[in-house]
């Protein structure tokens, strides 16, 4: 599904040049669940942002479903994102002014799904995430765990082929964290590819493969059974 080769990314300020990614190469197959680990500043979030087409790369190749996407313009990227990729963030990133239902509905609006169909699909996914009873609440009225479940619901409502999760349990206590990890595992079992950045060895054990990074390079891969 994803094949990156010699990926490079450099951050420049007036005085310093930092190589965030240094010729990173790896491959992700459809249906895989991958955890990316490493110390702060090793480049794992940068890698995730590039995989999600949120950030530009300075060199190398990025094939998504056998199509080179490295040179995509903003419109094509937005299009690819909304149809194929769901995001889960550490800080949930829900829109405060929109209710639970409206937050989850948002990706469907952007992909032009009709109103009746939207309602059906949002309710279905809220039901699955066991957050249906909170559908009319606003994000501030929910606990962290509930907010992350809404965020996951929003990520999956469009049935994306790939979910990118950036420390999805970072702001949660262990029981809420486990719940979210279970949700991701279930989704993976139903066929969704998942790439997750995490600091937690515990969370990483939910994945099939751990990619370890250091100073902008992949240094080791552990395959879990």
């Amino acid at each position: 599904m994803i094949k990156i080769t010699d990926l490079e990314k450099t951050y420049r300020t007036e005085e310093v040049e930092t190589m965030a990614l240094n010729k990173v190469s790896f491959e992700v197959k459809t249906g895989e669940f991958i955890a990316i680990m490493g110390p702060s500043g090793c480049g794992k979030s940068t890698l995730l942002n590039i995989l999600g087409l949120l950030d530009d790369m300075d060199g190398g190749s990025y094939m998504f479903n056998d199509i080179e996407v490295a040179k995509f313009n903003e419109r094509k990227r937005a299009d690819l994102r909304k149809h194929n990729i769901g995001f889960v963030f550490q800080s949930f990133n829900l829109i405060d002014e929109l209710s639970v239902f409206e937050n989850v509905e948002l990706p469907l609006i952007y992909t032009g799904v009709k109103s009746d169909e939207r309602k059906r699909r949002v309710e279905e996914v809220l039901d699955k995430m066991q957050i249906m009873h909170r559908r009319n609440h606003f994000p501030q009225q929910l606990s962290g765990g509930q907010q992350q479940r809404v965020a996951v619901a929003r990520a999956v409502v469009n049935k994306p082929k790939l979910i990118l999760a950036d420390e999805p349990t970072g702001n949660l206590d262990s029981s809420n964290g486990n719940e979210v990890m279970q949700l991701l595992t279930d989704l993976n079992e139903q066929g969704t590819t998942i790439i997750m950045v995490t600091h937690s060895e515990h969370d990483a054990r939910y994945s099939h493969r751990i990619v370890r990074m250091l100073d902008g390079r992949t240094v080791m891969e552990n395959i879990l059974v």
Partner: protein, 814 residues
């Protein structure tokens, strides 16, 4: 999608109450101002355009220079119209309006009332000005003498509620020698946007006039040209016209071979066509039928309306971008979810349009509520239905969209440009507080406000200068009685009786007065017994009595006043300084002679000896230079003035009125004070001053609303910094200074921009006055300082609040 945008917009509006209130209130004020001033401007621009033939109607005007004195006339001679129609097929029709006879007394019931709104008109009136006839003869209502057309207002005034059909054929009795006029037609009121305001049109034949002279210009003459006639080309015909008709009449009293000779002596006689639709806003000539508007003020007010609206839009731009950090995350999330930038732009524009829509609603309500005050301020009579007339309602309905886009476009582009990873990682927050463009916008707001303050101060200063200027006569405590000629032979007796009243110091006949809208008379004089155009001078000729100069406090600088002691004063003149200068008398003007038409015998040329020179006094508005003028001794008794000195003026007036009623045979009692008439000449300027003041206050208020909003957000964002500074020992004053400094710097820059601009623009306005102030340095100081103080007050409110906050609390909130 739109629903989602609206939901999000509405919730954002409710969530940020301070922000929304500031924007909506500011925009509502801006929109109300825009609606009101817009109506004023449209109304001014609409003058005479109701006339379907407006594009082909022209007034025949004349520019005359003779002996150095210049006359710009809105009138031409009585045979002008008919001769043009006879000689040139391009002239389809003409009509003359004659307003020089002034008001008439018209009988209503048992008493005569003074009617100023009248003219005499040719029978062709309705062919040039197609007023709507609602009763009577629609085709030839003024064919023949002793006929009158009434407007609905005129009908109401003289016939009350009588049915229109019953009024046709009835007569109106007047005080002129024709006495009775038959009502032949009733028309709808002359549209208010016509350059004259008339309720009664009398037959032209009843004007008491020496007909046939091409040399006296007393008729406002309008010609209707055939469609397609080029007025510029047509005007060239006037050269031939002058040679054919005017030259022979001039030659009768002046040896002159051709008009070239006349021009070679530095004189000028030019006729030209003034477009009907330009009269109201561009024409300010002698013998206008009514006081016209001024295109300059239309420009000024249009600019003010736009600026106020812009200032309000700037608030939206500034506050939206200043608090963008609170929207940044939303932008990031939406972008991650696949929104394109254009969708985000539409979303933000929806928000600004929604806000502008609410503001438009409020603005409309405010405009309706403030309409009476505005009408008063601008001297208009705009009604509520007119406020929302067909052509205007479209613009008003478009306002939310226009204002929404104007205000929202910059924030929409600014906000939608955020990079999702940057905002989601919180990497933007530091850079959001400072924006060069936002500073530019604040500078724009305050520069405009300061400019308006400067304008208001300069206008008021010029008005004060006019009111206190040394005008060469004393306008205080002079009571003028109008229409005293109605007393007939009793006028002297009346004057003597009033002079005997306690509180009356002196009296004089004042048919001619040194204020506008008073009688005027001019004639040409020569330095020699045989008229030589090189040695002629056209000047004002006023007939006054022996008491006039003393009562009005004028100063004789050479010679003497008229006096009963000299039997020869009937052939004496007193000149003003300008006349002496133009006549080129060296040192001593006394004992010189000027030659002119005899006052008693027709076609006779006689000498007048100069017995005195009066110091120049301003007999027209201070916009104009003082022209040449001479006084003759005589009795102009259609107005009589009294110098009064009484603690109880009202009681004195009541006594005079009682005396009047016993002697005046039902003629109406009407009086005014000279200083009031003097002030009346500057009504337009007073209005401009008041409007500039009102709207500069509004502009500053809106700008300060914005500043208040900005200060609020900046203080909020710097809460943590302030807490840390306080923990480290910062004083409260230091923190207030820290938060206010940046804003005050911007207002200072605005002042530096506004000063030269204000100086330039206001000096241009002052050029309209022959007598004017120099703009003093303190005007700028006052304007700049008041803007800075108001801004400081606005900002410090938030700064003090932030500075007084307990640092423990402010650190904990972070």
């Amino acid at each position: 999608m739109l629903k989602n945008y609206l939901i999000s917009a509405w919730r954002n509006l409710l969530k940020n109450r301070v922000f929304s209130t500031i924007n909506i209130v500011g925009l509502a004020i801006g929109i109300a101002s825009f609606i009101l001033i817009g109506n004023y401007v449209l109304d001014e621009l609409s003058y005479d355009r109701w006339n379907p033939q407006a594009e082909n109607i022209y007034r025949v005007d004349a520019d005359i220079i003779m002996g150095g004195s210049e006359l710009n006339l809105a009138v031409s001679s009585d045979p002008m119209g008919a001769t043009l129609k006879k000689d040139y097929p391009q002239v389809k029709e003409y009509v003359r309006l004659y307003g020089s006879s002034g008001s008439k007394l018209i009988k209503k019931g048992d008493e005569f009332i003074n009617e100023p709104r009248l003219v005499h008109a040719d029978s062709t009136l309705l062919r040039v000005f197609p007023f709507e006839v609602i009763a009577g003869d629609a085709l030839h209502p003024l064919d023949g003498p002793n006929k009158v057309i009434l407007s609905e207002t005129g009908v109401k005034k003289y016939f009350g509620t009588l049915p229109y059909q019953d009024i046709i054929g009835k007569t109106l009795e007047t005080d002129d020698k024709n006495k009775l006029y038959t009502v032949t037609a009733i028309i709808k009121d002359v549209p208010h946007n016509t350059h004259f305001y008339v309720d009664l049109f009398f037959s032209m034949q009843n004007v008491d006039y020496e007909w046939g002279s091409f040399l006296s210009n007393n008729f406002n003459t309008y010609i209707l040209l055939e469609p397609g006639t080029d007025p510029i080309v047509f005007q060239k015909n006037f050269i031939g016209f002058i040679n054919k008709y005017i030259l022979p009449q001039v030659q009768q009293f002046m040896p002159m071979k051709s008009m070239d000779e006349f021009t070679a002596a530095g004189n000028k006689l030019v006729y030209f066509l003034y477009p009907l639709t330009d009269i109201h806003l561009h024409s300010n000539r002698v013998a206008e039928l009514d006081t016209n508007g001024n295109i300059q003020y239309v420009y000024i007010f249009s600019a003010v309306a736009l600026f106020i609206l812009l200032i309000a839009c700037v608030n939206f731009m500034n506050l939206s971008t200043a608090r963008s950090s609170s929207r940044a995350r939303e932008v990031g999330v939406r972008k991650v979810l696949g929104t394109e930038r254009k969708d985000l732009i539409i979303q933000f524009l929806t928000e600004s349009t929604l806000m502008a829509g609410i503001a438009t609603g409020l603005g409309i309500v405010a405009a309706i509520a403030l309409l009476p005050y505005f009408n008063d301020l601008a001297a208009k009579s705009i009604s509520i239905p007119e406020l929302f007339s067909k052509k205007w309602i479209l613009i008003i309905l478009m306002l939310p969209l226009l204002v929404g886009i104007l205000a929202g476009l910059y924030p929409a582009f600014y906000l939608s440009a955020f990079q999702p990873i940057a905002v989601l990682k919180g990497r933007l927050s530091g850079t959001l507080n400072k924006s060069a463009f936002r500073s530019v916008l604040v500078v724009f707001q305050f520069a405009t406000s300061i400019l308006l303050i400067i304008a208001a101060i300069v206008v008021f200063n010029q008005l004060k200068y006019i009111q206190n200027a040394s005008i060469g006569f004393n306008k205080e405590q002079v009571l003028i009685l109008n229409g005293t000629n109605a007393l007939g032979t009793q006028v002297d007796a009346f004057k003597n009786e009033i002079s005997g009243l306690n509180g009356v110091i002196a009296s004089t006949y004042t048919g001619y007065l040194p204020v506008s809208n008073s009688s005027r008379n001019d004639n040409t004089f020569f330095k020699d017994a045989t008229p030589d155009i090189n040695r002629g001078l056209n000047m004002q000729v006023w007939t006054i009595d022996e008491d006039y100069i003393t009562l009005l406090g004028m100063e004789i600088i050479q010679g003497r006043n008229f006096s009963k002691e000299y039997g020869t004063d009937s052939s004496a003149v007193i000149l003003n300084e300008s006349a002496v200068k133009l006549l080129n008398y060296q040192q001593n003007a006394l004992n010189e002679k000027v030659y002119g038409s005899s006052r008693t015998e027709q076609n006779k040329f006689v000498p007048y000896h100069v017995v005195g020179v009066v110091k120049d006094f301003n007999f027209e508005s201070l916009r104009q230079k003082v022209g040449p003028l001479c006084f003759f001794l005589g009795k102009s008794s259609w107005s009589t003035s009294f110098k009064v000195k009484s603690a109880d003026v009202q009681n004195l007036i009541a006594q005079i009125e009682t005396k009047w009623k016993s002697m005046a045979n039902g003629a109406p009692f009407s009086y005014r004070f000279l200083d009031q008439s003097f002030d009346d000449m500057y009504r337009a300027e007073q209005r401009v001053g008041k409007i500039a003041m009102t709207f500069s206050i509004l502009a500053i208020f809106i700008a300060c609303l914005g500043l208040f909003g900005l200060a609020t957000y900046i203080a909020e964002q710097r809460t943590k910094e302030i807490g840390i500074r306080k923990v480290l020992g910062a004083e409260i004053t230091g923190i207030i200074g820290l938060l206010s400094k940046d804003f005050i710097k911007l207002v200072c820059i605005a002042a530096l921009i506004a000063f030269p601009l204000g100086w330039f623009l206001m000096n241009r306005w002052l050029q309209e006055f022959a007598f004017r102030i120099n703009i003093a340095w303190w005007v700028f100081l006052v304007a700049g300082l008041s803007a800075i103080l108001i801004a400081l007050f606005t900002v410090s409110f938030q700064a003090i609040k932030a500075a007084l906050m307990n640092p423990v609390k402010s650190l904990r909130t972070e």
